[in-house]
Subunit: 317 residues, 2 copies
């Protein structure tokens, strides 16, 4: 962390507006409206653009070409948007970024097709870059599909261990963040060991992020999260919170689930069993791993990666 916080916040605010400008440029077509209206709705969302920002922060370490970085950054954001649209159908989530999810605003068919087209736009965004970018984007896309498949398999399966859960979120959430931090190295043609190290940085950051998200799903502020809370528990999803709950006080946890319990009831249980503390320890463990993995660039003036970890983990939403 060579830079003071002001520099960092200026940097990400600048990057976010540049990324939004480039995303808008993707939207040159308007017909057929059946396809491009929902695509516009999804791309012009109020997303935080964390993934494309990470592409830039990683590329900065190696003075990567800015125009190439932007192509890679746009591609990962489009890939992310596409997975959210399809996941929202699969998980029947009604709200995304404080607005109706695409399949609620339109319908399932429209959401499937728009997602497919946005995935295709992600591929096209990088068609002038080196083939490694393309291969890696698609390897990670397959990994994200596998992660989502495991997530669906685990639903209502109360035998899932923390290890299996961590493997699932490493694929579903970690691999895409890993791709983002690796892309800066790919675009600047770094050696494979540097690529691998930056990939691990992103994966561990993704684990920390998702575990914290499981916590915020219970203890966050609904207005800031832009969605209603507690839905994962009620739909039988396994999360770091529910697995810790089961591990730490199984009898009471089963009793709690066997009766109609509201969010406050779950909150009380988690606090009484100090599961909020355990979760925070787990998040810290993965954050330390991210920080250690990038020690080799710690001396770089352009190293904003630790600031970035702190930034995305200090969100109250």
């Amino acid at each position: 962390m060579k830079n003071d916080n002001d520099d960092f916040h200026k940097e990400i605010s600048f990057l976010k507006s540049e990324i939004n400008r480039s995303l808008k440029k993707i939207l040159v077509k308007s017909e057929p409206k059946y396809l491009y209206d929902p695509i516009k709705y999804s791309i012009n969302n109020s997303g935080k653009r964390l993934r494309p920002i990470l592409v830039f922060l990683s590329g900065k370490l190696f003075n990567a070409n800015v125009s190439d970085l932007m192509k890679a950054a746009v591609a990962v954001e489009l890939l992310h948007i596409f997975t959210l649209i399809h996941d929202d159908i699969m998980d029947d989530d009604d709200i995304r970024h404080g607005k109706p999810s695409l399949h609620k605003k339109w319908d399932i068919s429209t959401a499937i097709l728009s997602g497919d087209a946005i995935f295709t736009l992600a591929q096209l965004a990088i068609n002038s870059l080196d083939k490694n970018t393309y291969s890696r984007l698609n390897e990670i896309s397959l990994s994200v599909c596998e992660g989502q498949a495991l997530d669906k398999e685990f639903e209502n399966d109360t035998s899932i261990s923390m290890d299996k859960y961590l493997d699932m979120i490493a694929k579903k959430t970690g691999s895409l963040l890993g791709l983002c931090s690796e892309l800066g190295a790919i675009v600047s043609e770094q050696e494979i060991d540097i690529r691998t190290t930056l990939y691990s940085f992103g994966v561990n950051l993704g684990l920390a992020f998702q575990i914290q998200d499981d916590y915020l799903e219970i203890f966050g502020e609904p207005e800031l999260m832009g969605k209603s809370l507690g839905s994962d528990i009620h739909s039988g999803k396994q999360t770091a919170m529910t697995i810790l709950a089961r591990n730490m006080n199984e009898k009471e946890w089963i009793r709690l689930n066997s009766k109609k319990t509201d969010l406050q009831g779950y909150k009380n249980f988690f606090l009484e069993n100090r599961i909020d503390h355990e979760i925070k320890k787990l998040v810290e463990y993965y954050i330390n791993k991210t920080s250690k993995s990038i020690e080799f660039v710690k001396s770089s003036e352009n190293n904003f990666l630790d600031d970035f970890s702190n930034y995305i983990l200090n969100r109250r939403y």
Copy 2:
């Protein structure tokens, strides 16, 4: 057509089995089962593999590298399978290749995710080929999405002209066949004018194919088609048959649609108004265009393209 029919049939039967062998090799993973069981189900179908066969027949003209052609062939078949899975959800089609469609055998979530993964596998299949392959595959994929969007827009819109309909099927069906015939030229690094000509060949073939499909949707044999017939009309889809019906005898056509009419009722109407003849003329028009577009390779000993057009259009199913 330099080759007698026996040679041609031996060739496509050989290609089909080679293509099936390569498709099987894609299936190296088996976990998570939630993802890979449905992927296997879809890839091991009884499809005719027309699109990958066309890639080979086109590549043969230019003595393209066989291993590269196979990668491109596998990619287009996977792209095709992916679009069928998602289209079957959108169109609520229950049967595909004589078996339950994926979302009927499993559910919509599984079908969305498997389709996404198969699309990704298509991208990975060509990651060692020239970047043109990748760009073109994705340009066409976007065009197929646009075609499907127009198809959905046109549902129950009885003002759609034949021109608009042809534009829609050129995108939805034609462009993928265009890609297949163009790929032989791309893989062997032909000049852009040759690529464009071969692309037109495939697009026109696709138009002929789809218009004939509209005819067979009414007059085909359900057992051979592997699906129930007449569903397009009952779901309000616009097809070449319904547009011709409207153009040729609008008053009677409206009357027919206002009452509960079975498939035989529609058949009688089409025969009485000689719409079957009109359709055949339209199919012939596009077939002539395909044949003319490839006159420059007519003298090639390796030219099976006309045989291929005849082959796919002489199907009774």
